[in-house]
Amino acid sequence: MSASPRIAGSASAPAFDVERVRGDFPILTETVHGKPLVYLDSAASAQKPTAVLDAVRRFDAESYSNIHRGVHLLSERATDAYEQARGTLQRFLGAADPSEVVFVRGTTEGINLVASSWGRKFLQAGDEVVITTMEHHSNIVPWQILRDEIGIVLRVVPVNDDGELLLDEFERMLGPRTRLVSVVHLSNALGTVNPVARIVEMAHERGALVLVDGAQSAPHLAVDVTALGCDFYVFSGHKLYGPTGIGVLYGRREHLESMPPYQSGGGMIRSVSFEQTLYAKPPARFEAGTPNITGAVGLGAAADYLDGLGREAVARHEHELLEFATERVRRIPEVRLIGNAQDKAGVLSFLVEGVHAHDVGTILDQSGVAIRVGHHCTQPLMQRLGVAATARASFGLYNTRGEVEALVRGIENVLEVFA
């Protein structure tokens, strides 16, 4: 694994003290099966710091009401808090304008929104959408639905045995009919970091737009959508130490303005008569109905929390931890790492020789170590790599070297049971 310039040190970065940070997460003091909890499943969903828990509780206790509706004070407070969260997320993502930040339920809804709204308006039979072998099912199925409905062509960029995209193949796939490249930034199954800025450059040269699935990159890399140059970027709050049921679709203004509503109802209109309805401008156009107001406030608090720690510092901590874990786990002869990309973050996927991942997960759980096992909603990738399922340890900002040692002891326990 090479040191990455993305997380190069800077003199102004605050010192990262993982023990102090752990104090911010009440759940980490829990015990499971009589053992201290070792939570290595943040790629599935991350735990929440007190800053988020408190922001949510305080908002609900002191400021909650519906937004953009009432003339009363609480409605004003709630509206302010909701729009303030949008501003926080705009800065967090490096977007040019708050109107480019659409609140959605999560990554899945964000991709579905683009497929349904942008896709149905701008794609025609024979147009091509390029995805990759390592996509999550949520970045495969929406495009398959459009394929069946409109007759678009879905092209899939292959990966090598280490789990890296074959960029030469990608370049060959870009053609006059390519309209969109929809690509995962950081693979949830393998930890591969894809060269998204380069992919954007190549796609834009051919006039294709790029959607980035940032479900894993938003929490673990210091993402800046303007620097990436992408047209759409989507992520979920609950993987970013925030609440579930809230996420963000970033879309460049000119795209969002050209897109029809995704769902319809209240909040997304300028005026309604039975003859004609005028739609609101983005982002309201895409936020029909009462949104997850409290969720947005919680997500804003999560983004502030991460920025308070320093995203570069967090990425550096996680990178060091992943390198340490890789080195420790590699020393166990029965373990095979799945995904050996040059540029990786946050995820260690592995197999234990002769033991199914599901059994590995159960035995680790008994040692207090929570990991994910299975296909990670990436069945085509698993098929490509010739594995049915993997065990996946994923790291968050609160994980420690001691927890890596607990993982290693847990794997030794697995070997003992299956000896």
């Binding site: 059994d359 159960t362 299975g374 049915a388």
Partner: protein, 150 residues
Amino acid sequence: MSSELRELYQEVILDHGRRPRNFRKLDTAKHAEGFNPLCGDKVTVYADVEGGRIRDLAFQGSGCAISTASASMMTEALKGKAPAEAEELFEKFHALVTGNADPEASAESVGKLAVFSGVSEFPVRVKCATLAWHTLRAALEGCDDPVSTE
């Protein structure tokens, strides 16, 4: 190692998980496919029924130690039985792995399958233990849709 783990991964289960019996395809038999979409496990169960008896029973697929051992021991337990007896044993087995069995009556009535009693301490693994059984039921009923645990 915790006692729950020792109960779950008994030697007999590990043995069947490593070297499953009747792990083959039966060309002429009734068959059905089962999936566990959560973990990607899949199994195909083949049941050769003749004269009201399961003359031969086999399976193929990939899965964890629990699901493989359960499928393997199921094929051993049900060869020569009538489909109705298979159904009856499945009900007892299901009660055993979900912790709903009468502790005294069950151990005898399920025979060797009693080694699966430890599964009841691991609710998320019940689906592993019962996948092959659900799939057998579908095969005997001539059901063409793949069985899913979800």
